[in-house]
Amino acid sequence: MNQANPFALLTNGSALPWSDVPEWPLADFLRHVSAALQRGERLSSFFGVPEDHAARLVAVVALDAGNTLAVARTQPFSGSFPALTPSHPQAHLFEREIWEQHGLVPEPHPWLKPVRKDHGAGPAVGGFFRVEGPEVHEVAVGPVHAGIIEPGHFRFQCAGEEVLHLEIALGYQHRGIEEALAGGPHRRTVYQMETVAGDTTIAHATAYASALEALAGTEAPLRAQWLRAIALELERLANHTGDLGALAGDVAFLPTASACGKIRGDFLNLTALLCGNRFGRGLVRPGGCRHQVEAERLGRLRERLETALAEVQQAALWLWDAASVRARFERTGPVDPNQAAEIGLVGPAARACGLLRDVRFDHPAGWFRFAQVPVSVWPDGDVFARARVRWLEIQRSGEFLREQLEAAPEGGMLSDLGSLAPDTLAVALVEGWRGEVCHVALTGANGRLRRYKITDPSFHNWTGLALALRGQAISDFPLCNKSFNLSYCGFDL
């Protein structure tokens, strides 16, 4: 094996034979992964693949500057392995997950506890990090929250109003999606992919479709790739608009809150114009897209998009104009840029710390190979920055759609997927509205899925919310939480 290149390199949305993924003894593998992370590369996914009574570790490292992905694996082993977490905190949840899923013990891991599994009475029953002291008290919130929100448990260690530490316990939404994929794809698999995180239907379905297309050696028709990009940006517009409204609502700034609540629905209705479903269910399929877009429909889409963009512009202007909003957003919930890089933040939360990372730009695939969206960054890492990045992205997505709706390629929408290559690994990344969606698919000798690993951006980012709360007033938790607006089910799978 070539010692100079410890990883196999591939581009987003491509596949390679499993035997071409360099196989290392455990110590060498960890040394190589560690060295890459030390150079500032990013852990996109890190997981186990069961093999007889043991398992292998597989790492997908994103070389953002080189626009490539690096993959390596270990020989099968059981028992324990030297943890990466102490030197590379971004491996923290991945290593807990590996322990939970395969029984491989990362040692020494500073906080080894389950990621999703029940302890008999819900994931929140178990040990939490505690701060001791005469003035210190503990606040437990959830799993059932006050609004219409998914369940999760938050455990705060507070001194008076100030949060010293927040620990987040999830797993309540666990539906067993990865387990259900073994031996697939099954008839219902694509429907499960569309509901990995239901507000990110297009991004997850596109990642799944791209992974399968790479395995089958099929390319979706260009027009379908174009439509996926259109739908992806509509998904971003709807969610970012909703988030700006929710942030405004949390600082009692009602004009923007009520306007954005409605405009978010207008964007969802644009997705429904394409496929009938406000969340894009039934649009993306392996091999292409399931619906054609006629010229007349495209005209309606363009027209309604302009109206919605003009309205969100107005609603956002009120928000940025208001000193009371600035006063509440600025310096609330800051994440230090160095810490953001260390814990591997992705998406708007990372870009709000000045980190230039965006799959559409770093790892362009599908239609984004031809049409670029500028990366929106803001330096401060606080609630203001996270809101601001969303607004910048609303504008960029709007511009992108304006241009691309005029540039539709002709052709069909769906090509036949064909059968999946046996013993092959494929990686697909998509920049969902929360950040990087990563799907890794591995087929067995029979050409069926042997292991399927999903990494939702929330898997990287929940730690960011916990850090943002340190030193903040506990009353600012809702505001900080909305500024991240992470997925529970996308994390829990």
């Binding site: 006050a146 369940p151 004009p255 629905g265």
Partner: protein, 263 residues
């Protein structure tokens, strides 16, 4: 500056709340399709086209019988409509999907070509809840789509508050639960406790196909196949997710607040 701007824009825009149910219902997206209809007398013997494409086994067919479609397992993907050679299964474009009895979602038998719409609560409960219904929402494995399209009812376009319906922060303040998701095992206890914390009399509404049957996660060892496995359900609204109009229609139907006759 923004105060002036805001007021002016608000004045110009006028009231943005839809006139329904007094006026016409907003149109569903043309590709939505609405509720499904099963005309079993058209069903051809020996044909299994729909059974082969249905992702959730919502369609069944006993030997020598026409097909039966369970909307409680249906994701409304309409693959069956596409492949049906005889027009047995068709889309009606109707947004009304709410039923009281789980059985009323099973279509196919004579007289059951379409679902039987929900009847209102009995007189006693209507007197209690008809003009003020406070609900506690519990997501139990929901993907955040049913949650989002329930949440949207509180926005200015739908303005749920005008019917006296409101989502409250505590089950102690609630008259009932609105449940979404297939009910993950990890949420079972929290759901039971939340239900127990709602004072009697109370109602339960299952929103979305997941909450009715668990589909597309039905059969996963990590889910309990819907809300009725844990609590009694009074209203079922299928969909993936149901359109906000379908959800609101269900709520108003339950409270007897819709003038039009049921089916």
């Amino acid at each position: 500056m923004f105060v002036h701007d805001t007021l002016l824009t608000r004045l110009k825009r006028g009231c943005e709340t839809m006139s329904w149910p007094a006026g016409p219902a907003p149109a569903l997206p043309d590709r939505h399709g609405g509720a499904l209809r099963v005309e079993s007398k058209n069903c051809q013997a020996g044909c299994a086209a729909c059974l082969e494409v249905c992702p959730t086994e919502a369609i069944t067919r006993l030997p020598d019988q026409p097909v039966a479609l369970d909307l409680g397992r249906c994701l409304f993907c309409a693959e069956c409509v596409k492949v049906c050679p005889s027009g047995t299964i068709s889309q009606t474009g109707d947004h009304r999907l709410a039923v009281r009895d789980r059985e009323d979602l099973r279509l196919g038998r004579p007289g059951r070509e379409e679902l039987r719409l929900a009847a209102a609560l009995d007189e006693k409960l209507r007197r209690l809840f008809g003009r003020s219904l406070k609900l506690r929402q519990v997501s139990a494995g929901g993907c955040n789509a049913c949650e989002a399209d329930t949440n949207v009812l509180a926005t200015i376009g739908w303005d749920l508050g005008r019917f006296g319906i409101q989502f409250v922060a505590s089950p102690r303040h609630a008259d009932g639960l609105l449940i979404t998701g297939p009910v993950s095992k990890n949420m079972e206890l929290a759901l039971r406790k939340t239900y127990a914390a709602v004072p009697e009399p109370k109602i339960v509404i299952a929103v979305g196909t997941c909450a009715i049957s668990g589909a597309p996660f039905a059969g996963s060892p990590e889910v309990l196949n819907g809300a009725s496995s844990v609590v009694p359900v009074d209203l079922h609204i299928p969909g993936c997710p149901p359109h906000p109009l379908s959800i609101l229609d269900g709520l108003l139907r339950l409270l007897g607040r819709l003038e039009e006759p049921g089916r």
